[in-house]
């Protein structure tokens, strides 16, 4: 059986168990030639694997990762699908295949373009999923998405943990424009806001708050904090379809993204509409959407995304979107 490169990457992460960022990047760079996919980046793959619950990554000065423990979770509104997430060693995959067959359950691999195939088991009862987890000796839970969403801390508590440290000096800085959802080069800080500069090891993000203090933040948290300052709501939710949508420039923070992604086990998809790139998370129960929004200080905008949330479009030559 020939595996996709994303699947090989997940298997390697699972077998290795832990490692440094350079280990991960080396494996990624070897697997993915950018000729095949210009958008392929190691950090993006790591972020997606974390959102799918396969690995944990500590984005400190010394970046490290570990494979997450395997978990079987029954997905809501899925017609009885149980998702196998966490570390997927080859031994576990073989055991899952054999056990599912013995229990007369259908194990289904759903390919994903930018991630490893989703491994789901079709059950006729939640007891089927419990039994399978028991035999595989892994934890079982119902709707991890709901569980995580119920634990999401408020935005302010993340901000309080931000390290008081200014941006590296002497480098070009950009400011995040919450009304336009884009980054703009500035000669020097222009008052409170989220700023970033590109160092040789990556971007650094820092909030300049109202009293002139600098705090280095997780970028997604910084973005939502500035959106909160300006009273801009960007989360669209359509309860009938279960789609939660937000502009790509306002991607969810890692734990929020995991809650949203594990509602379906499928990575968020992207689409272009009205000059903005939108991120769609699927199969989101109302309780999860509300938990995410409330944690980020956002009010959900009901209905399909339409780009008409009052955002101004970036037009200036020195303004750009990148994430």
């Amino acid at each position: 059986m020939s595996r996709s490169r994303h699947e090989l990457l997940l298997e390697w992460v699972s077998e290795r168990g832990d490692g440094s960022w350079s280990d991960f990047k080396r494996a990624f760079d070897w697997l993915f030639a950018r000729r095949d996919d210009p958008a392929a980046h190691a950090w993006r793959a790591a972020r997606d694997l974390a959102a799918l619950g396969h690995l944990e990554i500590a984005w400190g000065r010394e970046v490290r990762w570990t494979a997450a423990p395997p978990v079987l979770t029954l997905l809501p509104r899925s017609g009885g699908r149980a998702l196998l997430t966490g570390a997927r060693t080859r031994e576990l995959t073989r055991a899952a295949e054999e056990t599912a067959e013995r229990l007369d359950l259908y194990l289904h691999r759903q390919p994903q373009r930018h991630g490893p195939p989703t491994m789901m088991v079709l059950c006729s009862s939640h007891e089927d999923a419990e039994q399978l987890a028991l035999e595989l000796d892994i934890p079982y839970t119902y709707s991890v998405a709901n569980q995580l969403a119920a634990m999401l801390p408020p935005l302010q508590s993340w901000i309080e943990l931000a390290e008081p440290r200014p941006l590296a000096s002497g480098l070009d800085i950009e400011r995040f424009e919450p009304l336009q959802l884009c980054w703009r080069y500035v000669a020097e800080p222009e008052g409170p806001g989220l700023y970033r500069c590109r160092t040789w090891s990556g971007h650094e993000y820092a909030l300049w708050n109202a009293v002139g203090g600098w705090h280095q933040v997780v970028p997604e948290v910084g973005v939502y904090e500035t959106l909160r300052w300006e009273g801009v709501n960007v989360l669209h939710y359509d309860q009938s379809s279960g789609v939660l949508t937000m502009p790509a420039e306002a991607a969810l923070p890692p734990l929020h993204a995991r809650a949203a992604t594990l509602a379906s086990g499928v990575l968020a998809s992207m689409c272009r509409r009205k000059g903005l790139t939108w991120t769609n998370h699927w199969n989101i129960p109302a309780s999860v959407a509300e938990g995410i929004a409330s944690s980020l200080g956002q009010a959900l905008i009901e209905g399909e995304k339409n780009g008409g949330s009052g955002l101004e479009r970036c037009t200036g030559g020195d303004r750009h979107r990148s994430h």
């Binding site: 944990e56 500590a58 017609g79 199969n283």
Partner: protein
Amino acid sequence: MERDLDAGIASHNYYARLNQLLGRPADAGMPTGFEAVAGFWQDLSSWLDEDLVGSRGKSTIRPHHWHVYVGYAISQALLRRVDRNRLTDFFRSAGLQPGDEITAEELWALLHIWARDGSGLTSYGLHAILSADDRLAGALSEVVKSEFDAWDGALRDAEGRQVATVALRLRPQAGWRKIELSLLPRRPEGFPAGAFSSIGGRTYELTSSKEGWYDELDVAVEQRLLERGMAIRRGRFAIQFQPMPVMPFRASIELGGWVSVPRLVALEEHCLLVHVSKMKDVERLLARGGDGGHQLIQAAGLPPHWRVIRAVRVTEESTSRDPGIGRVTPRTGLTARLEGGLEVAPSGFLTEGEPDLWVSVTTGDNIEVEVDEIQYRWPETVKRVELRKLSLGAGDHQVKAAGRTLRFTSYDGLTARTEQDRDVLGYELESHGTYKPTAASAVQLEPGSCKGAVRIVGAAAMGSEDDLPLPLEPPVLLRHGFTSYVVLGKTPGEVVVTEEPSIPPWLEAGLSDEVCQFFDVPCPFEAELVLMKSADGWLVRAIRRRPRAATRDAQAPRVEAVEAWQRTILEADERDAVVPPELSKVWSTYVETARERSA
């Protein structure tokens, strides 16, 4: 001793020269007692390396496998000192680092490629290398090897001055719309600070505030400098900037910019400073071996006729014999080596994640590789062999290429895993009504649990029941194909009435090809049975594997719910609902309870 081409005396014909010096006939052979000379050489070598601990330079004296007595002397005379000094340049050009593991044969193969007009070797040295027969090549390769083993990473010029190179630093500004170039001389150990002077007499005051580097040179990087280079000296030290029409740069956090490197490294991101005369050649080379992501930059601040290409990453083998753009070809390093792969243990890889084999051979040869005793041959001089595509399977593997034997193991997964020694990263949230993170991102979690806190690792949430959110009841899965459904719990009032929903859009949107046989219904109680209604009548089915009998106590305060529970059961009973035999006993308890309550 040097060989005499005119007299027809080979360099290894030692005794002819020695006998002339001793006044003996040239063909008299080895003088009596000469055996002791080998011991003198060994003493000298041991004095240099052991007694003086290399303080006066490491010994390059080596025994020779064939010339047991004269091999020592020959090893010191096959190449003149002036040519030996140039070998440091060769080591650098070949991308070697002090301490690299490389055999004399591999070094010789690389030297053969490098030794060309313009390499800085004397005509004598060039001739010695290019025309050496097998026996002489063996002796020369040992000399080169001993020079390499003694090399401290420094270069030497032809006069024997220790040479430090100057790196060019490239700093992009305003999103690569402007480029700033500067010169940063390296400062190897022992190099002095102070005044250095150029041949033209200009003096440069060199200071150093970072170990291994001098501070930025006060020189404008202009077209003339990029095309002609510069050299400054102080006593037995020299500092040189040697320009090339194509210069690769790699990002350096330490030096705050992109810093020029001797050669591009495969798979690493680089940017290139390219003279316009070489642009087409470079673009051709990148089209062949690059990953397609490179970008030509229109930037201010560059000298005329120079361009910058950023996001250069070479992933495929590509070669150029043009010395001007040779730096863009990936450093294949040694003649055969394994690179990349999904390593899960020392020299152990996942199957389908076996490393690539990089092989280079001298011009004119073909690449011959033997993998697990199967022969492969390619008419190329540099080749990346993707071993993962050879379907090697799990087990030990042996690769023979370019005179080397490389071994590794493929695993179809590791069976023995040790979790105990492994770090666990995750989120820790304090539980005080709401949850509060203890760190801004995932952190290393200490073993053991912590009261009043929960941990999230991947999809697993861990903590005491008091600290975790209340668990949800699992949904009830119902089979599609009926018009309405009534889910029953064992207690009167535990009832959910629903109709068949449409297939959820996310499953319909091509995310799954499987037919949806079931749909799920949230249920706030433990469901026991379901009544399913269709045009043909009612069916009773179990939700739990072993449904429990009905209880007579109605706990639900909602009178309507209790009534709905009773009414549905009685209606199904009156309409002769189809009950499987294994459920008839349990079902009867529901009917009896419903009748009693309605009475």
